[in-house]
């Protein structure tokens, strides 16, 4: 599973990197991006799906 953050939508709520730090990271201002190419470790796939559903700006997508 791979995910991507749309930087034009992210508003810095921080839910993703708080809940799933193996996949998401924050910059100095709280905006999110993925670690590496956004590959989700097998054991974190369920959490990543919850994060996608919880993102207030619908900024996260599963891409493969």
């Amino acid at each position: 599973m791979r995910v991507t953050v749309d930087p034009t939508k992210c508003d810095g709520y921080g839910t993703c990197f708080a809940m799933c730090p193996s996949v998401f990271r924050s910059d100095d201002w709280g905006y999110a991006s993925t670690e590496g190419d956004g590959t989700v470790p097998l054991e974190d796939e369920e959490m990543a799906r919850r994060v996608i559903a919880l993102c207030a700006e619908h900024a996260i997508r599963e891409i493969s």
Partner: protein
């Protein structure tokens, strides 16, 4: 009272300045006669352009053999971009990108106003290879637009536009980000010319949602040259992974800033020499326009190829080279550049808005005499962490500036202490 602040940045002149060929470079795009003005269709045909039809698969293989890489900035292998759209099912579109938002570059405008038919020959070839039903020249400069429209009318009158292909121009907004691929598609689709998040990339979904090839106008001119002369002849000059010649826009503290054709793999001093030499010594370079950061010191021995410039911590990009004189204050230049990044951000991505603001603020505070090392540390950290975080590469340019200027400031601090 208003105090006018003089810019310390060097910009390319809108007309491109004088043009020339560097040293023993074989003239391919800048020909002796182009100094007199635009080539017409008959002149290009006399040189063998608009030649016999090509087999799409065979021409793709020829492009691969040539080693041609995109001349717009990213340096991506041309045959791979062509192949991605050629392999798509259904209707496709090709776009010649002549927007040239980079302030230190004028080579695309030079090409469109001096050899517009050569670009169109390459665009028609791209349409054949990809099976496109629509070919668009995307341009913002008024003179370049008029030149291309005149050339398209000539092609149509001569019956050189294939049946079933719609060939037209699209006038772009003149902002930096309007030249980014996804912004190009958005503009043509009737929306503001601002980048979108990827995926999808234009080769998957671009103009009208169709697979779209977007190719820089200089790349297309080389494509036309390769059909005329062949891949082997193209690769006779160049070095390693950088084959052929490229149009360099030279600006800054040199005798004759302008557009120069040079074989890739030659050093910067060849370029400077052709332009009559440096006028105030060499205090630093900006390579790849305003997006490759600052290279401090005399780097005139730097080899102009994709790999060597990347290893030096910059990027060849669109081959815009600015020579900073010894009198140019690198921190002052970096400070004004950071303000430019702040004002040119498309204001779409939080990281870009916040990042460019923070970088500009750090420079302002240093210029006001704040000597705290926290600014240098921040600049170096942002330089390392912000790359690749925006919807387009704009923040990457601000990050390169932060990284290289931050490193130079740290070196100066160390020198003071020792």
């Amino acid at each position: 009272m208003t105090v006018a602040v003089e810019s310390v940045l060097y910009r390319a002149s809108s007309a491109g300045g004088p043009s020339g060929v560097v040293g023993d470079t074989p003239p391919r795009l800048v020909l002796p006669d182009t100094a007199a003005g635009a080539f017409g269709l008959e002149q290009e045909r006399a040189l063998g352009f608009f030649g016999s039809p090509v087999d799409p698969a065979a021409f793709l293989a020829e492009l691969e053999r040539s080693g041609l890489r995109g001349r717009g900035g990213a340096g991506y292998p041309a045959h791979r971009k062509f192949a991605a759209v050629a392999g798509a099912h259904g209707e496709t579109v090709v776009v010649a990108n002549g927007h040239e938002g980079e302030p230190a570059s004028a080579k695309d405008r030079w090409l469109l106003t001096h050899r517009p038919h050569l670009v169109l020959d390459g665009l028609l070839l791209a349409a054949v290879v990809t099976g496109a039903s629509e070919a668009i020249v995307y341009v913002s400069d008024a003179d370049a637009l008029a030149s291309v429209e005149g050339a398209i009318a000539e092609l149509a009158a001569a019956g050189l536009v294939p049946d079933g292909l719609a060939l037209r121009t699209h006038r772009a907004e003149h902002t930096y980000v309007a030249g980014e691929e996804s912004a190009v598609c958005r503009s043509i689709n009737g929306f503001p010319a601002k980048p979108t998040s990827k995926p999808p990339r234009p080769y998957e979904s671009g103009v009208r949602g169709l697979p779209t090839l977007i190719s820089n106008v200089e790349t297309l001119a080389h494509v036309a040259w390769i059909r005329r002369h062949g891949a082997a002849a193209f690769a006779e000059v160049g070095s390693g992974t950088s084959s052929g010649t490229a149009l360099f826009t030279l600006t800054g503290a040199v005798e004759r800033p302008g557009v120069y054709e040079m074989s890739l793999g030659k050093t910067i001093d060849h370029l400077i020499e052709s332009a009559g030499g440096a006028t105030a010594g060499i205090g630093g370079l900006m390579v790849g326009g305003w997006f490759g950061g600052l290279l401090a010191g005399d780097r005139s021995s730097l080899v102009c190829c994709y790999d060597a410039v990347r290893e030096a911590g910059s990027g060849l990009g669109c081959a815009a080279v600015t020579v900073l004189g010894r009198n140019d204050d690198l921190v002052e230049v970096a400070g004004e550049l950071s303000t430019w990044f702040q004002s040119e951000s498309a204001m779409q991505c939080g990281v870009c808005v916040s990042g460019t603001n923070a970088i500009a603020r750090a420079f302002r505070q240093m210029q006001r005499g704040d000597t705290s090392t926290v600014h240098q540390e921040n600049l170096i950290r942002w330089g390392d962490t912000l790359t690749g975080r925006g919807a387009c590469g704009f923040i990457d340019g601000a990050a390169a500036l932060a990284r290289t200027a931050g490193a130079e400031l740290a070196r100066r601090s160390e020198r003071k202490e020792s």
